[in-house]
Symmetry: D2
Subunit: 290 residues, 4 copies
C-alpha cells in the first residue's frame, strides 16, 4: 500500500526503509531537502491516492500539532492520520475530534525500538478505532518484528500513546535498577570482574533482557564508562507517567525515583543539599563553604 | 567427572538432572530419603574418588553452615567444596579459611535461573581461586546455558555470592518497575487491553526481557492477577544489597524502595500510616478510627 | 473593619471568632442555616459598606469557583475578594482576571494552623497586589499569631496558594519522617519506652517541633495508636507539589514518597505487589494465593 | 556532685560549662592540654571520690572504645561510666558486660542539641539500669532543658543510643523535607519572597519547628544560600537507622532517601547516571560524552 511519512530523521528514516523493504510505497517529507521525496505537505498529499494514510514522525509538541493541523487542511473525508511520535496521550482525542469534523480518521501509535528497530522491528502500541487499525495493518505488519509479539491495539484513541508512556516509565525503572547495581559492584572490593558479571547474566539469569545486552555492549567499548558523564535527559513520557500516578493515586516509588535521579544528574550543584548543609551548619557547625 | 551434590530440592534436583544429562556422575544426598542416592554425608564422601568435588545446595544460613562444617570433617586434603546456595558473601572467606586449614578448597557460586534453569541452563557467578575454578569447570559447563554467556569468574572467594546478591537487587528493581507500570495501566481509563500491551512488548521494545516473558505468562493464566495476593517475601540478597549500599555510600533509591514495598506488602496495617493518621487527627480533626 | 466571611465550618468558624475578638465586624454566610448571620450572598454583600472585603473559606474546587463567580456578580468596582481555601494556585490568576474586568480585586491566602489556629493564630501566606494586601492587613493582623512571624506577602496573585502548597508538601515529609521513626522504634527490641522517647524530644532536641508536640499528645491518649487505622487521605496540595516537581525538574524524593505511602495506605491490596508475587511465582514457584 | 568528663570539644566543653553552672564539680580531661583540668585519665580518676561517675564525650568508634577500656582498668567496683558520644547501640551491651566483670556500671546517653545545647539544654536519651540512672540524675538534671521534657530513660543498656539513632534518622527526613520544599520554591516562578515564606511559618504553621528556626537564621545571613555547596556528610546514625530498617523489615522510604541524597551530594559525578547515559546512548543515540 501507499503511505505518506512525515519526518525522516533517525526514527522516521529507518522506518521508511523497513516499510519499503516490505514492498510498500512510501512518500516521504522532511524539512531537510536532501532526504525527502516531495517538497511540501501539499505535494505529499497529491502524490497519494485516496483514501490516504499519512504517518507523522516528528518531534512531539508544537511541530506535531502544526503538522497535523496542516494535514487536516489538505486531507479529505476518508483519509487517515497516524501519529507515531511521542505525543502526550491527552493531545490525541482533541486531534481526533478536530479531524473527525472533516471526516478524517486519526490513530496514535507509540513506537519503541530506538535505532535498532530498523533491523529488529519496532514494538507498536496503537490507539484508535478497529476500522482504522485494520486499514493501516499492512504498515504495522511491515514495521513490527516477525512473530507474534510487537503489536497491540491497546484501546481507543489515546491508548497507544498512553501505553508507550507507561512502557517508557517501566524502562526508566529498569535502567535505574541496572545502573544502581553497576554502581554498587564498581564500589565494592569484592568483585574484580564487573563487566564480566554483566555479560554473564545475558543468558540463564533472571535479569536477562535487551537493556542488559545493550549495557554489555556499552561496557565492551568502555569497561568503566570513563568516557561518559553521569548526565541523563528525561523525555515527556517519564514525567507524564509520574503525573498520571499522582492523578490516579498509584504509588510509583521506583519510576518516580528514576525520574528524580535524572533531574539530579543535570544539576551542577543540588539546591536541596545546600539547604541540608545550611541546617547542619546551623545546629552543629558543619558545612562545606563553596 | 564425579560430583557430590547435597540438597535435591527444587533447585538441586533440577541441577542434578542437568549435570547427569551432560554425562557426569552425581552422587546426591538430601534429608528426604526418597530422593537421595546415599543415606549420609559420610556415605557420599565414601562414594567419591579423591580428589572430590562436593556442591552444597541447601538453605542459606545454619543448614549450609553445618553441612559445610560436617563436610570439613569428612573430606581430605585436595578436595573442594562449592556452595551454590544463597549464602551471604561475608560467610565465604571465613569458611574458606576454616577449610584451608585442612587443605580443602572452597568456592562460592551464585546460581540464577529459578525453575527454568534445568532446561535453559543456569547463570553461574563464581568466586574462588583460578585453580579451583578450573577443577570444577566441567560441572559449570554442564549447568550453564549453551553459548558464550551465563558464567563469570567474578573474583576471589565471596565474589560469586556478592555478584549474585547484586543481581538479585537489580532483579528487585526490575520487578518493581514492571509491577508499577502494570498497576498504572490497570488504574487508568485510557487502555483497554493491558495484558495485550505487556505481550506486545516481548519483541521490538526496549523493555524486552525474560521477566516480561514470565509476566506475560502469568497474565495469560490470570489476566487481572485476581488469584494472587499482593504479598511478597524478600530474600537475604535484597536486604544485603541495601546494607552494602549503606556501607559503601552508594545511593540505591530504586532497589531500596523495591525492598521496602515488599516489607509493606506483608504488613496487615501500616504502623507508620497510623502515626500519620494520628498527626492528621491532631491538627485537623481527620482520622480513620479502626 | 468589616469583613464578609463565607464558610463557617471548622476553619472559617474559628477564624470568624478570632477576627471578631480583635474588634472587627464579621458578616458570615454558610449553607448551614444555624451558623450564619445572613441568609444569602446577596444579603451579605448588602450588609457590607463599600469598598467591601469578602473572604471565601469553602472547599476548594467547584464550590469555591462558583462562590467567587456569584460574588463577582454581586460585588462592585473597588471591592476585594480573598480566597483563603485550599485552591490550586493555577486557579488564582484566571479568577483575578475575570474579577478585574469588573474592577474587583482578588488575593489568595494560604492558611495553616488547623484546629489550633483559633487560639495560636494562623500562618498566612498571601499572593496579590501590595495595595490589596494593605487593604486587608487589619484582618491578617487579627488572624496571624502575635509576634513577628506567621504572615508573608509571598508574591503576586497565586503566590499565596503556591506557598501553602509547598508548605503542605514539607509537612507531608515531616509527618512521614516521624511516622517512620515511630514504626522503627516500635519494631525494635532495644527501646522500652517509645512514647517517653517522643515526649523527651519536645525540648532540647533537633526534632523539636509542633508536629512532635501533637504526636506526643496523640501518644498520651493512645500510647500504641491502637485505636487508629493506618489510613491517610491526601489533599490536593501534596499532589500538586509533586506535579510541580515534575514540571520544574526538581527531585522531590521525600515528598513524593510521603505522598505515595498515603496512596498505599488506602489500598486494601497492592496491585503492584500482586505483579511482584506473580513474577516470583513464575520464576521460583513462590506466591501467596489469595 | 562530682563528674569526670572526658572530651572537652564543641559538645563536651559546653556540657562542662552547663554542669558547672548547676553547681556541680567537673574534672575534665581532653587530649588538648590547654582545655583540661587533669593531665591523664589516671589523674582524673584519682581526683574523683568513690563511687565515681565518669562521662565520655569523645568521637564514636575506636577512641571511645579505647577510652572506656582504659577507664575499665582505672575505675573500681561501684563506679559508673556514661557514654554520651554517638556510639553504635550494638557496642553498648558488650561494654557493659566487660565492665560488669569488675563491678563497674555502664550507661549510654544519646545527646541532642548541637551547639545550642549549652544555653537551651540538651535532650538526653538514656539506656541503663534504674539504679544507675538515679545515681547520675543530678547531672542529667543539669544538662537537660528546664521543664518536663528533654529526658527519657528509654530502656536497658543500648536503648539510649538506639533512641538517639532513630532521632537522627527522623532529623534526616525533616531536613530533607525542608530542603526539597526550599528547592521547589526557589525553582518556581510563582513566589517572589522565598525567605519570607520560611520566616512566616515560624509561628502558626504546621511545620513550625526548631529546624525551621535554624533555616530561617541561615537564610537571614545568605538568602539564596549562595555561599554554600550542596554537600552533606552523613553520620553513623543515619546509616544505622537504615540498617535497622532492613533488619526489622520496616519500610523507611523517607529516611533512606534522605541518606541517599547525602551520598549523592558527595559524588562529583554519578556512576549510576553514567550507566543510564550509556544505555540511552546504546538504544537511542543519546549521551553526553565527558
Amino acid at each position: 500500500m501507499q503511505l505518506g511519512l512525515i519526518g525522516l530523521g533517525r526514527m522516521g528514516g529507518n522506518m521508511a526503509d523497513r516499510i519499503r523493504a516490505a514492498g510498500h510505497e512510501v512518500v516521504g517529507f522532511d524539512h531537510h531537502p536532501d532526504k525527502r521525496d516531495v517538497g511540501s505537505l501539499a505535494e505529499l498529499v497529491e502524490k497519494l491516492a485516496a483514501p490516504r494514510v499519512v504517518w507523522t514522525m516528528v518531534p512531539a509538541g508544537e511541530i506535531t500539532e502544526s503538522t497535523i493541523d496542516q494535514l487536516g487542511e489538505l486531507l479529505s473525508d476518508g483519509d487517515l492520520i497516524i501519529d507515531g511520535g511521542n505525543s502526550k496521550f491527552t493531545d490525541d482525542q482533541p486531534r481526533a475530534d478536530r479531524l473527525a469534523a472533516k471526516g478524517i480518521g486519526y490513530m496514535d501509535c507509540g513506537v519503541s525500538g530506538g535505532i535498532w528497530g530498523s533491523q529488529n522491528g519496532y514494538a507498536l502500541m496503537v490507539g484508535g478505532d478497529a476500522k482504522n487499525v485494520a486499514k493501516a495493518m499492512p504498515i504495522f505488519e511491515a514495521l513490527k518484528p516477525a512473530g507474534e509479539f510487537g503489536f497491540v491495539h491497546a484501546g481507543p484513541v489515546g491508548a497507544g500513546h498512553y501505553t508507550k508512556m507507561v512502557h517508557n516509565g517501566i524502562e526508566y525503572g529498569m535502567m535505574q535498577a541496572f545502573a544502581e547495581g553497576w554502581e554498587l559492584l564498581e564500589a565494592s572490593e569484592y568483585v574484580d570482574n564487573v563487566p564480566g558479571a554483566f555479560k554473564s547474566w545475558r543468558e540463564g539469569s533472571v535479569v536477562k533482557s535487551w537493556l542488559l545486552d545493550l549495557f554489555d555492549r556499552a561496557l565492551d567499548g568502555d569497561p568503566e564508562l570513563a568516557k561518559l558523564k553521569g548526565y541523563a535527559e528525561d523525555t515527556g513520557e517519564g514525567r507524564w507517567t509520574v503525573d498520571e500516578a499522582v492523578r490516579l493515586a498509584v504509588p510509583l516509588h521506583v519510576i518516580a525515583a528514576s525520574l528524580f535521579t535524572r533531574f539530579e544528574s543535570r544539576q551542577p550543584d543540588s539546591p536541596a543539599m545546600k539547604a541540608v548543609a545550611a541546617l547542619r551548619q546551623q545546629f552543629g557547625g558543619h558545612a562545606v563553604i563553596s
